[in-house]
Amino acid sequence: MAARIEPIAGRYVHLTFGGRPCRVYFEEAGSGIPLLCLHTAGSDGRQFRHLMNDPAVTDHFRVIAFDLPWHGKSTPPVGWQDEEYMLTTAAYVEAVMTFSRALELERPVVMGCSMGGRIVLELAAGHGRELGAVIGLEAADHQTPWYDTEWLHRPDVHGGEVCAALVSGLVGAPAPDEHRWETLWGYMQSGPGVFKGDLYFYRVDSDFRERVAGIDTRDCPVHLLTGSYDFSCTPEDTLRTAGKIKGAEAQIMEGLGHFPMSENPARFREYILPVLDKLRAARSGPR
């Protein structure tokens, strides 16, 4: 019997972020409408592997996920060893838009989770006319901190272990063990200080409470989906955010947590497929 080979292909692209050359890894599968996926803080694009293996998605969408520099298989820029990694809103927007333009993605649907869900709000506000739509998973315009990020990067606490143990509670209780632990493995593999540096963006540099009302959903539809078990971005946070964006659609996903696409892919697809169908239908109609 032939071995099962997945349809996902991975490649590297050389881009310039913040004036520095970066070797950026991305994976993709499928064809059709570009669906650009943004991973969570302290993890990487593997979180989207189930979508990339789902023909119900890939028959209609070209699903693409890239690892931000410092994450996954994207190397940090030269000189990283002497600096403290801190992601900013400006750097994050530049990375997403540079990647999208370099791959000549035409009005991509940008779907991000957690900090990826946060940045799609800024992308919709600032670059909405270039995008087809945004989907924010576990997304809100602001977060109430629930722990001190100093614990994430210090010599007397193992970084990989503590990052995973902290976020372990954000996985929904019904998540299958196989997917729960694969999700946490991503956090265990993150480089030293990377999760903490991402949280600089998430906690400090991305208060979009005044920003989101400026999103025009006629240019860029907004869909927000949040798991009922997420206590980092709570359902209330998401509903509050959606309430400020005229035309935004929000849904609470029962039984899911902060990592819906990787922690419980079977349940997540029940929620995401109707959203993707809707975006596809709107795209094929008159604009």
């Binding site: 143990a165 509670g169 209780a173 019904p174 206590f231």
Partner: protein
Amino acid sequence: MIDRLPGLVNGDEALVRRGRFLTCDFLVEVGDVAYHVSVEQGRIASVTLGPALMRPWRFAIRAAEEAWREFWQPVPRAGYHDLFALTRFGRARIEGDLQPLMANLRYIKDVLAAPRRLARSA
């Protein structure tokens, strides 16, 4: 439930191995009832029902009895399913020296959640 920890933890080889670098005493409060939990190299050496005057501990985890009861459900409901979900919503407090807790976070979380197994096997 806390008094059942020695049997639940010490019989779990993987859990004891995970905590093998931890030797410390911590306090768990279930409502008004305090339990001193003594860990030696990942094994629960003793659980002592308080109050134990003048007995030191490194860190304390305090929550109402109702919060712990929900936490120990086989599949706890949202907001009660994790130590930090409890603290995030003001249902539990963590105090003291957090270094041994954070350095052994998965172990401590698993120890505290071990009573869920009793409900599953009931």
